[in-house]
């Protein structure tokens, strides 16, 4: 047998999906169109969960009480993404973060924007854990998580 370098065969898998998101997430996204961020409150542990859930994952009780939380909050943590990978939401650099929205008991994942990202030193001076931020709403809202473009410094 000839000593050849083992071959590489190329291919790809691309599949379409249709995801049923259920009544709770449907309402959450409808409310986003009206610039409202909604949570649900657990009657057992009293935590306000955002995004709204059908049930509390810890108490396993249905959370039927809807509560509007603020579109302002505090940065719990953040990360400046400077590497590239497939399926990335936008070309780097960009900042992702966890935001403790006023009135919520869990943190909300989103982008942190409105900041000059050209120089890491500048970003470090500008973005800090504990910093106050508010939602930058899109003018045209379609009922998905990107109706909020990002959270910007207050």
């Amino acid at each position: 047998m000839a000593k050849e370098k083992p071959k590489i065969l190329e291919g790809s898998i691309s599949l379409p999906y249709r995801w049923a998101i259920g009544p709770v997430f449907t309402r959450f996204f409808e409310e986003l169109k009206d610039k409202k961020i909604m949570g649900t409150k657990c009657s057992k542990c009293n935590r306000v969960l955002v995004p709204a859930r059908k049930f509390c994952p810890r108490c396993f009780e249905e959370t039927t009480e809807w509560v509007q939380v603020s579109d302002k909050g505090t940065i719990r943590t953040w990360s400046l993404i400077t590497f590239e990978f497939s399926g990335q939401p936008m070309p780097p650099p960009y900042i992702v973060g966890l935001i403790d929205l006023d009135g919520a008991d869990v943190a909300f994942s989103h982008f942190i924007g409105g900041i000059d990202l050209s120089d890491i030193e500048k970003v470090k001076d500008r973005v800090r854990i504990g910093m106050r931020v508010e939602a930058k709403w899109r003018d045209e809202r379609r009922g998905n998580i990107h109706d909020i473009e990002y959270f910007k410094p207050v």
Partner: protein, 388 residues
């Protein structure tokens, strides 16, 4: 805990870019090595537990169907267990429970990954739900950097101090990998190299982050009765536990991280360990990211909260220290994800049986192995000891 269970064989491939073999051939290499290590034949294996990352990683769904031939699975029960990064640990736990239950005497645990066949970060991102979190998770480095930043802030630690400790962990583990012939990344590096390496997600740099690797591992678990009849010294499972967080990344605290703290506490209790820093001789911590390893030192009770940098500064967790961590070079130097957790268990087994070669911690009798998985969602521990 059920019946006493021991690890009687461990095999792993040379890890790295393994385009010299296909996926089946890679798994065959590890399984063959484990069987040879235990000195048994495929017919002695009664059941097989297999694990890998989401199948999108290699583009062959339910990979255990394709890989069954490479695991000598003909005519045997075979199942696949998947918990992302902690898969290997889940596979080990599952094999343990099969034997501990009394239903099987010899069970093989297998884990594998071929990460150069796809874009691993692209696959990992699809683990998060597509409506709320996927866009904001941004691969493993994004998640781990958020966690690391939160850690430094929580205890008001100077950025430079944490940076230096993380760099020392990287240098220590890269040095360790030089003594591990199976490790993927085997290069001598300095603190300067770490601090100058490319920024991935500030402050995380390339040398703070694990590689993508191709590789496989297999472990053979046996009942007390069987293990005692083997010529090689068995490594006994002394304690184990696995815990998870909620799926939403913002629902739980990742610094005082309960899904890491609880399994360590429970596993220590089973193993009769009261002071892990003194009673453990070595630990194989799942550390895809240097900053995260600092958090694990605290979650596993090696030091008080906010004191992890001190463990590095005093050399406690470095080579030659009181509790050396990752003498294999760890995940930081080798990361075929589906196999990675299993390698931690296998390396711990080698340590307590004095068979770890150049990476042996002299006289090691009690070892902790650990794996973490998901978007910081799961942690599992298995403690191995030299005595029943």
């Amino acid at each position: 805990m059920g019946r006493a269970v021991a690890v009687i064989g461990f095999g792993q491939t040379k890890h790295g870019r393994r385009e010299d073999v296909n996926y089946q051939e890679l798994v065959y290499e590890a399984v063959k090595a484990a069987l040879e290590d235990a000195g048994i034949s495929p017919g002695d294996i009664e059941a097989i537990i297999y694990g890998s990352m989401p199948s999108a990683m290699e583009g062959i769904n339910a990979a255990h169907l394709y890989l069954s031939d490479a695991m000598a699975a003909f005519g045997k029960p075979l199942m696949r267990v998947a918990t992302c990064g902690s898969t290997g640990m889940s596979v080990a736990h599952s094999a343990f429970y099969h034997v501990a239950s009394g239903s099987f005497d010899i069970v093989m645990a297998v884990g594998s990954e071929k990460m150069f066949e796809n874009d691993p970060q692209g696959t990992m991102e699809t683990v998060a739900d597509p409506w709320f979190q996927r866009a904001f998770i941004s691969g493993a480095p994004g998640v781990f950097t958020m966690q690391g930043n939160q850690y430094s802030h929580r205890y008001n630690l100077p950025e430079d101090r944490v940076r230096e400790a993380a760099a020392r962990i990287s240098v220590n583990h890269h040095d360790n990998a030089l003594d591990n012939p199976y490790a993927h990344i085997r290069v001598k590096i300095t603190i300067e190299d770490v601090l100058k390496s490319r920024i991935i997600a500030y402050p995380t740099r390339l040398m703070d982050v694990c590689p993508s690797s191709d590789g496989a591992a297999a472990l053979i678990f046996a009942s007390e009765e069987k293990a005692k009849n083997f010529p090689k010294k068995p490594a006994w499972v002394k304690g184990l536990c696995y815990c998870g967080d909620e799926h939403f990344f913002g629902d739980s605290d990742k610094v005082v991280w309960e899904s890491a703290i609880i399994p360590a506490e429970r596993a220590y209790k089973m193993a009769g360990i009261q002071n892990p820093r003194k009673e453990l001789d070595v630990a194989e911590i799942y550390n895809p990211f240097t900053y995260q390893e600092l958090i694990f030192y605290e979650c596993f009770g090696f030091c008080d909260r906010g004191e992890a940098c001190k463990l590095v500064e005093e050399g406690v967790v470095l080579r030659g220290g009181e509790l050396p961590c990752d003498p294999s070079g760890g995940v930081l130097c080798t990361n075929p994800i589906g196999a990675t957790g299993l390698i931690r268990v296998g390396e711990a087994a080698l340590q307590v049986t004095g068979r770890a070669g150049d990476r042996q911690i002299p006289g090691a009798k009690m070892a902790l192995s650990h794996a973490m998985g998901g978007v910081d969602q799961f942690n599992g521990i298995m403690i191995l000891g030299s005595e029943l």
